[in-house]
């Protein structure tokens, strides 16, 4: 029996090995090296001169933490996290709705997924038009008498609305993706459980809270983790809608945009040490938030089976 268990383990690891090797090379090594660079002074000029990184301890961290632009970026990234609960609740709710055997449900499911496969460039053109001063959003608000003609403004050029406007695009792009994940989770719940609860007299709301939500916890954890990480890593939308400036008045400048600008933004002026330190700080925040996600969706231990 022991021998068989050993064989099974070896076979499992043999299957895992290629993926682990590739992850080691292309994920873990860059992450570890990037973190190491955060403790060094290493610029593009050093790279050109084939000079090795010089250990400077925590100097880059002090520089990054003292940089008002990074502080603004972190604050905006934290604000960006507000999209996570809204996105998760909305996509779970719609997943429950489209998990019905009703006519045209296939069409609805597909429609919600279209934004996921729409390129950011195309989405940018559309949303750009929506957010303009003479765009669709102001037109709709005027129609509803919520603003007057003089009250129109460009949503992407107002420091109070630009970040929210971009968050709306993130919501629009992510909604279908999480909905499909939730839909898959919902369809894995045995129908008998729902039927038994119905026979016992449980209403739709009770079935949702007592059966659906507890059984969906692993999916909820996965989706909220993915969504949290995506919110911290938001970059494409910011670059596309602000030309990479993080404007207006840095109101959309996120922490990752800081890292990008210090490393990839203008490669020929890159400072890998500063970018590495900022990247490591963001990764630590990401770890903390991931832990929080695990903590909030943890399984109760020692409860009733």
């Amino acid at each position: 029996m022991k021998r068989q268990a050993l064989t099974t383990t070896l076979i499992a690891y043999a299957f895992l090995a290629p993926a682990l090797v590739l992850m080691g090379l292309f994920t873990f090594y860059p992450v570890i090296y990037g973190a190491y660079l955060g403790f060094t002074d290493y610029t593009i000029a050093d790279l050109a001169a084939k000079e090795p990184p010089r250990w400077v301890g925590l100097a880059n961290f002090a520089r990054v933490l003292g940089d008002p632009l990074f502080q603004t970026g972190v604050w905006n990234s934290l604000k960006y996290l507000l999209v996570v609960p809204v996105l998760q609740i909305a996509s779970l709710a719609v997943a429950v709705l489209v998990n019905q055997k009703l006519p045209l449900m296939g069409l609805f499911r597909t429609s919600y997924y279209v934004p996921v496969v729409t390129s950011i460039a195309l989405a940018a053109v559309m949303w750009d038009w929506i957010f303009q001063k003479d765009g669709f959003l102001n037109w709709s608000l005027r129609l509803l008498h919520l603003i007057n003609w003089e009250g129109r403004f460009s949503w992407l050029l107002n420091e109070h609305t630009a970040l929210w406007a971009i968050m709306l695009v993130t919501f629009w792009r992510g909604f279908g993706y999480y909905m499909v994940l939730y839909l898959a989770g919902l369809q894995s719940i045995p129908a008998e459980l729902e039927e038994a609860a119905t026979l016992d007299g449980a209403g739709a709301w009770q079935r949702f809270w007592r059966i659906t939500v507890p059984l969906m916890k692993p999916t909820i954890l996965l989706c909220s983790l993915l969504s949290t990480i995506a919110a911290i890593r938001v970059l494409e939308e910011i670059i596309v809608f602000t030309g990479g400036s993080g404007g207006p008045l840095n109101s959309t400048y996120t922490a990752l945009l800081y890292v990008y600008n210090k490393s990839w933004g203008n490669m020929l002026d890159a400072n890998f040490g500063v970018a590495g330190a900022a990247g490591l700080l963001i990764a630590l925040v990401g770890f903390a938030l991931s832990y929080l996600n695990f903590y909030l969706t943890r399984e109760e231990r020692g409860g009733r089976s």
């Binding site: 000029a45 790279l47 050109a48 001063k133 050029l157 030309g243 400036s245 207006p248």
Partner: protein, 421 residues
Amino acid sequence: MVKKLLTAGVLGLGLLGLGSLAQQRTVEIEFWTYYLSPNFDNYIKGVIADFEKANPTVKVKWVDKQDTMERDLTAAIALGKAPDVVNLWQDSTFAAAQNGLLTPLTELTTQAALENAYYPNVLSIFTVDGKPYGFPWYGWVDQGVMMYNPELLARAGVDPSSIKTTDDLLAASEKIKKATGAYGWLPPVKDPNGASFLGRFFLEGLSIYDAQGKANFNSAAHVALLQKYIDLMKADVIPQELLRKEAFQLTNELYSQGKVAIMIGGPQSLNRVKESNPELYKKTKVVAAPLGAAKVQTGGAMALVIPKASTKKREAALFASFMTSRANQVKFANVVPIVSTARGSENDPNLRPKDPNDPIEVAKGMVSGSGRFINPGFKPPKNTDDIFKNFNDNIEAAFLGKKSAKQALDDAVAFWNANAK
């Protein structure tokens, strides 16, 4: 023809020791361009074929890079597989040279040979700390020509021949907006990759640096100029969207829709109009562009540079000089309306318009030979990214009313002088 041969001869002699290449084994050099494929495949491949025919011991492997150019270049250098000839624009050339990534061309040819082949003003764009780092390739002038929608100007009662200066242009823009609802002209105020508003100072004859090289663009005259544009944006004579999009991009979008009356720039601005609104394209008129008080053009150029890490520098220099020769630049100008940076192009008969009724041809005829007027206005400081970001943030704050024009310029100058290395 004799002049052309002489120029080619001088440059050829200047490329030290290159004559002996014919006796060597065949070598392959890698040539990177920036956003030129697939539109210009025929032209680039044609020049490469001509070069290989003239230099049978050198083969050229062409790779077109797009938005990943700079990171690919850095990665290639780090991996020890640097390309041999790379097409960079002026600010990237400057940053790469300052950071020690490029070969000074005087290690491969002579200053005299370069000066004989290219306009000195363009060569100076690629000169960093007294050393030339880029063979000037195709260029552009920002003012170039004025292209306009005659119907919009007529409706506003604006006579295009009366627009001789930037002030005339702004006055016309006010009239056009009032009478038609369309914008007149969209000036670059905050482009993401540069410090556009410094160009406005330069065009109006205001300084950027003092004699000691310190930024000094915060005098009363600078403040007044910035305030003038802020007021125009407040009055919606120029759109607020200019704070978010490049003027070139926004003008291109709106001109075709009849929402902008005037485009200032190179003939390439008309390419999109020709595709999206052929009727408007046919109606478009082209005249000389108005200039600022300084009566100068701004503009820029692309360079062909040779990375320090290249292992075939001499062959690379031979190819780069061939690619950027007058004959080949003039051929290129006939494919797409670039401005040749090769000395003597202003007299080249091949740059005269072929169809006097076609707006692009007319504009090409007026602009292609104006390489001697290309002037970026100022040299970027080291630490460009941080400094330009701060400058643009201040300009934006002034336009959005968060700072006074004076405060914004004072803050930008203070940051510039504290952080420029």
